[in-house]
Subunit: 576 residues, 2 copies
């Protein structure tokens, strides 16, 4: 039934047909995610809710804004993307997140948490200004509900004098179980379900901000959801409503229901590699046994960041604040003012949220906080909103911050050891996983690089991080077969640069390689160092564009980072 369905056809279906449609969607999502990777449990949990929303509202005239977007698969299936669903998260395929470019049914691109209420308010305000008439719905999970943006949006609801529907999809989880007082409050509301009078009294927080609160309802009960949404739709003319629904994360698939965190995101396999995050967890736990100053902070990603062993061993010295990246950053800075040694572990893309706090709270105060920047570089199938290709640029511009990039997991371990005695702001950026190892492993000294291959050839490749070094190293080895000798340097500190080593390269041709955009990154710093000094320089980095979804290796190659591209460059220039 799902094939070629339109929202118009959907509205003509019987409940029985709709329920069958839900099962079909659930099966297709499960099968596809196990093939392509993606967000499984969150999408399984919301099938009925999304069907009900599409049944009751008139998309795309009405607007549905997702938060983060981990719940959008069913919506895609219902709105013209059944055919392409098998391509989801693949290069050239449809996105795993809402995408305006893909369909008029996706009205706002998302990927980072907490933006949906602000975006829904902006769309509703624009509607009012233009004098148009449609409904705006934000669909948000309780995990995102911890983010400060929610409060900022709530605070301005009355001010904006507009009307929106906020569907709060409460499954008790973000990626990890939801934490914090707002979560406890939502639990209180859901416990009150049997006693609506008491419930109404407790719902005061939302009413203070101008929302009518209505809940709690079973979001997996399609018939009730349709009835409730139909009723709420009428009320939206005169008031903004929070509709609080409970859904079962992983619904309909027993393994997911029992393992919602592990099945939130499914990887589509690939060869077994060592996770950098595992090394972080083990090493930090080992160091913390001897060093009571070490504390670890995360924003709702303890397990993915490898910190579960630390959190288990040192519950009093570890904090997961929920999806509150800015708060997490300030907690680290302030704990450091009291002599502690905080580690904030976070995905590169989400660290963007802490940019101001890294500058003002950590670096202006010159505090010994270590940023563990995971999933740096191209992150792959999640696409534009999740690529970690900006961090070298936005970190290396900040005064007082040292930026380190390990060449392999062994060096990463040494860098964590190094960080424990490093008494200033430090960022260490690394990809999800790696399989390479590069000799030698010399002692880590801030701002000091090392040669992996050293010879008298004209070209010297400066590369940072396992991926860039893999390209550089393999290019050098390939060129060696052609009797072209190229040196390779592990530029393991992007800031400060190894000025001593660079000074020795004045007469050589230099190539830079980084898994980051060119502007403001490693190559850019090298260009500035050599500016006006007569030298051949070639930068391998990503150009000025957002990088779409795809496999890590295929994207790196397409966007210019490969051993072959480097080798070709050297070959053609050596022969000039």
């Amino acid at each position: 039934m799902l094939e070629n369905i339109t929202v118009k056809q959907l509205k003509e279906m019987s409940l029985k047909q709709l329920l069958a449609l839900c099962e079909e969607a659930r099966e297709l999502i499960t099968a596809t995610v196990f093939k392509n990777g993606g967000h499984l449990s969150s999408n399984l949990g919301t099938v009925e809710l999304i069907v009900a929303l599409n049944y009751v509202f008139d998309f795309p005239k009405d607007k549905l804004v997702f938060d983060v977007g981990h719940q959008c698969y069913t919506h895609k299936l219902l709105t013209g993307r059944y055919e392409k669903f098998s391509t989801i998260r693949q290069k050239g395929g449809i996105s795993g997140f809402p995408k305006r470019e893909e369909s008029e049914f996706d009205c706002y691109n998302v990927g980072h948490a907490g933006t949906s209420v602000s975006a829904a308010l902006g769309i509703a305000k624009a509607r009012d200004i233009k004098g148009e008439d449609f409904n705006v719905i934000a669909l948000i999970g309780d995990g995102s509900f911890n983010n400060g943006l929610i409060y900022e949006a709530f605070n301005s609801l009355r001010l904006l004098n507009t009307k929106v529907l906020l569907v709060l999809n409460d499954n008790g989880m973000s990626i990890a179980p939801t934490v914090g007082s707002m979560h406890e409050y939502l639990e209180l509301l859901s416990r009150d379900d049997a006693q609506k009078a008491k419930n109404a009294k407790h719902a005061g927080i939302f009413e203070r901000f101008g929302f009518a609160y209505d809940g709690v309802y079973d979001g997996n009960d399609l018939e009730k959801m349709i009835a409730k949404l139909t009723e709420v739709k009428q009320r939206l003319k005169t008031q903004s409503v929070i509709l609080h629904v409970m859904t079962k994360k992983g619904k309909g698939y027993a393994f997911c229901e029992e393992n919602p965190e592990a099945t939130h995101g499914i990887s589509n396999g690939g060869k077994r590699e060592t996770e950098y995050s595992e090394v972080l967890g083990k090493t930090l736990t080992r160091l913390a046994e001897k060093d009571g100053r070490i504390v670890a902070v995360t924003a709702a990603m303890t397990s993915s960041l490898g910190l579960s062993p630390f959190f288990e061993k040192f519950p009093n010295r570890s904090v997961d604040v929920g999806i509150c990246e800015e708060h997490a950053t300030i907690l680290c800075a302030s704990m450091a003012t009291e002599g502690l040694k905080p580690y904030y572990a976070v995905y590169s893309t989400f660290l963007q949220r802490s940019f101001d706090e890294i500058i003002i709270d950590i670096c202006e105060q010159n505090l010994p906080v270590t940023l563990c920047v995971d999933r740096a570089g191209i992150s792959g199938a999640d696409g534009e909103t999740h690529q970690g290709v900006f961090d070298l640029s936005f970190l290396s511009m900040i005064p007082n911050l040292t930026v380190a990039v390990p060449k392999d997991v062994e060096e990463f371990e040494k860098m964590i050891e190094f960080s424990a005695d490093f008494n200033a702001p430090l960022a260490i950026r690394y990809p999800r996983a790696g399989s390479r190892s590069f000799e030698p492993h010399t002692e880590i000294v801030a701002g000091k690089w090392e040669y992996l291959i050293k010879n008298d050839g004209n070209y010297v490749i400066l590369a940072c991080g396992e991926r860039a070094l893999s390209c550089a190293y393999d290019a050098a080895k390939a060129l060696q077969q052609l009797n072209i000798f190229v040196s390779v340097v592990n530029a393991r500190f992007v800031k400060p640069l190894d000025f001593g080593l660079l000074d020795g390269l004045i007469e050589r041709s230099v190539i830079t390689v980084e898994d980051n955009i060119l502007a403001g990154g490693f190559g850019s710093a090298i260009n500035t160092y050599f500016a006006g000094k007569h030298k051949e320089i070639k930068n391998f980095a990503y150009n000025d564009q957002f990088i779409p979804q795809g496999g890590v290796m295929e994207l790196m190659e397409e966007f210019g980072l490969s051993a072959q591209a480097i080798a070709e460059y050297v070959k053609s220039n050596e022969n000039r």
Copy 2:
């Protein structure tokens, strides 16, 4: 009495003596601010509160964390900085904000809103981990209370399982009158003052998050404040408390009491210059009369940003969301998805808070939002936390974003006109005020520069913005006297660069000038453009360090931006 006072002596004073001390502090603050500039009304309003806090608590053993820091002058006077108070906000003098480097009584540096509760929680958590015993107090104004960080911190209070005192200094203002539902809620609480029972019922929001709420009290009544704080101090062993006090912004100085927004910050004069913000307000208002798509958004700074005329003329198309920079950014992006033409005006330093939203919400969606980046470059007396010297770096690294820098107010006006028809993300960065004008004024075309001085000399200076161009132009004029002919280019788009013009400079020596840090900024982009092309390049920009307080011109000169430095460079290199 204030001279050489210690907190120990303070605790031995009678109420009468303390009241006299308050008056002395008030007079000294008023006289000093009128001389040096600074934050007047906010500091006058909190004299009694700060005296009471210092009387009751044992600083520096106990820790007082300010929010933003516009209330810290009395604290400075009481804690060893009376002697240096006349140097406040001057080059080499004491800071107008809390500064750890200055005194052990300043435990956390601030400058941007909403950080105090997170920082207090971090310090308290560190105390608990270390097994120490002291009190941690956050002092926060109701303006900062709108910021999302507050919610993130509140949400984690129980999670962190620690105890802090939050003194909410409610004067109904941030810089502008406070807006939003939280403000209305605080008003409700203060109206309830006479009926404590009802009050206790209403205080539910704070209690949900684990705070005991106590309020509302008169923060200008020293005797009552001392008594109340003494009582609350005892309760901090077992619970976290929000103490809600009302103070009168500008208290004790009639003109300030009547003009709290105008006297929030006092400038210390200087010659009459044209404010870029005035031009923004006038031009945008004029354009909006013909173009119904134009909307304006600010975060609690309507007047300082020059937008009051727009807000008065188009109340339905203007939004001040309070100190919620991230939310403001998303509102703009989402309104743009509906075909509106949003302008977000903000100080450069505060735009750092929106970094992620500029990337994900505005630029990844390629939406026609215009960022009006005021107070860009060195901003002067507010010091490290307020310099706008990072924006060219963090903006020009973002794909899809065009970055423009007007050479004078006339060109700024033309750029705003240009922006109205520009259908993509655009940032325009400009300083507070200017007094120069540069001919010619050619048509604005994205990515196209213009020559201000063109000749056949070897050197070409590429400079962006009025300040950098002033240095460049004056250097060229001075060199002309010595028969050294130097061209000057108005590089009014930092992104994209004018590649056509740059291609014509391959044989010339290039100098770049910008009122921004070097890393990732304009000069860095030029260095990358010319990388490996044999050319002399010299960058004038700020080095990798935080720039302290001082006069704009004296700081620019000290940190390397002056006509003299440029002229000297050319002279010494021409003679080589």
